[in-house]
């Protein structure tokens, strides 16, 4: 059980800066998710916490104790890798107990801890198998088990689910959540999948190009994205962005008023999530249907507005449209996100 503190962390490879001044406090028992597109520095940050990369500047503390000068094994962390990284020549029991055996833990205690971890993860029947005889999901569970037996202060996960197929990924996501609820450990989880981030996280850290764009609970990020990047990254399908103008406190699309704002006059970006759009006879978004995707319970309506901007709406599965149909959509005031010219949110 421990807090994790990152202070003024910088990392550069040669002359390229990959992390610019990162600061973050992770509370005890919190599951924090680093999310961002590939190459944004989130994995590098995790590897620095683990001690696999050196820091160019800054401090890392775990449980109030500074650890950035310690080797990985003394930091009280355990890491689960994307490729599982199991030792292929050892069976499941050997893989689970390897770190403890190396740390000269008495055999009796190793057995106890290994058995406990295998019980938690349902691996008890597989203890004699080699990694190559396991399925992807089982290998992933062994990798997690290997982390559990070390009884670390902080768990680090580096995209642990991205090698699994879609159905298994959803299943393992739930398993991970259950595991976290059971162990109540501090966990740092890296992913590029915003759905994983939304479902798992207590708090999300959104990375872009080595900078933290926003830190907040999943719902904060969803409801109040601080800029267009976060707004577009969180939520699926992605938020619609429309070029609009502000005239005397009103956002106008062409000449149609859409919503109120405190932004100054000038051009703005109007962000609206597809799920917040609804069919409306007097709505401001008027255009032609270009594509209509029916998924059964819901449907996606791709609309080309009269000024040639496009948007996607998520509707229920009741109505059907054909390409070329005329259609009008509306949105409620509280679902309008207004971003200024430097892409930052206009606080209402």
């Amino acid at each position: 059980m421990a807090t994790l503190e990152l202070k003024g962390i910088k990392k550069s490879f040669g002359s390229t800066d990959v992390i610019h001044d990162m600061n973050l406090d992770v509370n005890d028992g919190e599951l924090i998710v680093f999310v961002g597109p590939s190459g944004c520095g989130k994995s590098t940050m995790l590897r620095m916490i683990a001690g696999l990369e050196t820091l160019s500047a800054g401090q890392i503390s775990i449980g109030g104790k500074r650890v950035d000068h310690l080797p990985p094994t003394d930091r009280g962390i355990a890491m689960v890798f994307q490729s599982y990284a199991l030792y292929p020549h050892k069976d499941v029991r050997g893989n689970l107990g390897f770190a403890l055996k190396h740390a000269k833990v008495p055999q009796k205690e190793i057995d106890e801890r290994v058995n406990k971890a295998s019980e938690i993860l349902g691996l008890s029947d597989l203890m004699k198998r080699k990694p190559r005889e396991l399925s992807g999901g089982q290998r992933q569970r062994v990798a997690i088990g290997r982390a559990i037996v070390r009884e670390p202060d902080v768990f680090l996960f580096d995209e642990p689910l991205s090698n699994l197929d879609a159905a298994l990924r959803v299943h393992m996501r739930v398993e991970l959540l259950k595991l976290h609820q059971r162990l109540r450990n501090t966990m740092v989880y890296v992913t590029h999948d915003q759905v994983e981030a939304m479902t798992l996280a207590d708090r999300i850290v959104v990375f872009r190009e080595g900078r933290v764009e926003q830190v907040g609970t999943p719902l904060e990020l969803y409801r109040q994205p601080m800029n267009t990047f976060v707004a577009g990254f969180i939520g699926s399908p992605a938020m619609n962005f429309l070029m609009a103008r502000v005239e005397d406190g009103t956002v106008k699309l062409a000449d149609t008023p859409v919503c109120k704002t405190s932004a100054n006059n000038g051009s703005v970006k109007l962000g609206i999530r597809p799920e917040h759009l609804a069919l409306s006879d007097d709505g401001p978004f008027d255009g032609k249907v270009s594509v209509f995707e029916h998924l059964g319970g819901e449907s996606f309506l791709h609309l080309t507005l009269n000024d040639n901007q496009t948007m996607v709406a998520k509707l229920d599965g009741e109505r059907s449209f054909a390409p070329g149909d005329q259609c009008r959509l509306g949105v409620r005031q509280e679902y309008c996100h207004v971003f200024d010219e430097s892409e930052n949110r206009v606080v209402e």
Binding site: P71, T73, F81, S83, A85, L86, Y87, P88, H102, K130
Partner: protein
Amino acid sequence: MLVKQRISSVGIHAVLIAYSVLALFPLALIVLNSFKTRKAIFRDPTGLPLGESFSAKGYDSVLSNSDFPLYFGNSLTVTVVSLVLILLLGAMASHALSEYRFPGDTFLGLYLVLGIMVPIRLGTVALLELIVSMGLANTLTALILVYTAQGLPIAIFIFTEFLRSVSKEIKDSARIDGLSEYRIFFEVVIPLVRPVIATVAVFSMIPIWNDLWFPLILSPGEESRTVTLGVQQFIGQYTVNWGAVLASLSVAILPVLVMYVIFSKQLIRGITAGAVKG
């Protein structure tokens, strides 16, 4: 379709059998004739050693009459020690080259494999001077050092390629588990590349065992002769004891064969399957 498959399978086997016969013919000839009398060897070189033509005199003179067991031991010592050094140093150097980034790493890698392109025999005179001035002439150490130097470039070249393919995450995972860099090498990396080690061992071993050049030049002394050099004592200026020459060659094949069988068991692919996604 089935007929076609059968024909092509017969064809493939015919080619393979023909090649095997061709490759084994000289070996068979050596072994066959080592059991024959001198007369029979020349009268009918391909005949079987039956009845009158059979004679184990060659083996007799090899095993009783000479220092053959000593030569045999020398060859074995030189080969095994050189092999261990080549595999150990080669694998360690390659691990460092593929795992760590340090200034001059590319240059060092190139320098280490440069030896592939320069035949070590070109440096014989310099090597001889060096060995003599080190006081190592007529010792097995001289041969071991030269063979290790001879085997390292190609070993490093092959190892580096394969060690690069070892998943970085496994090594990182071992680091988090608290293993030192040496133990990562011996306990995690080496078990993963066992097939490659066997491959390198097999074709580093054979040139060393078969070499005549360096034993002849660096250690021709009575005590430090190897098998290949020892055979020469049966080849006189005027008479050649063919029975003994062939018998000693037959015996010399055996250890290479045994080592090959041992290593080829390790040449099992797919040991890494399941370590990482794949």
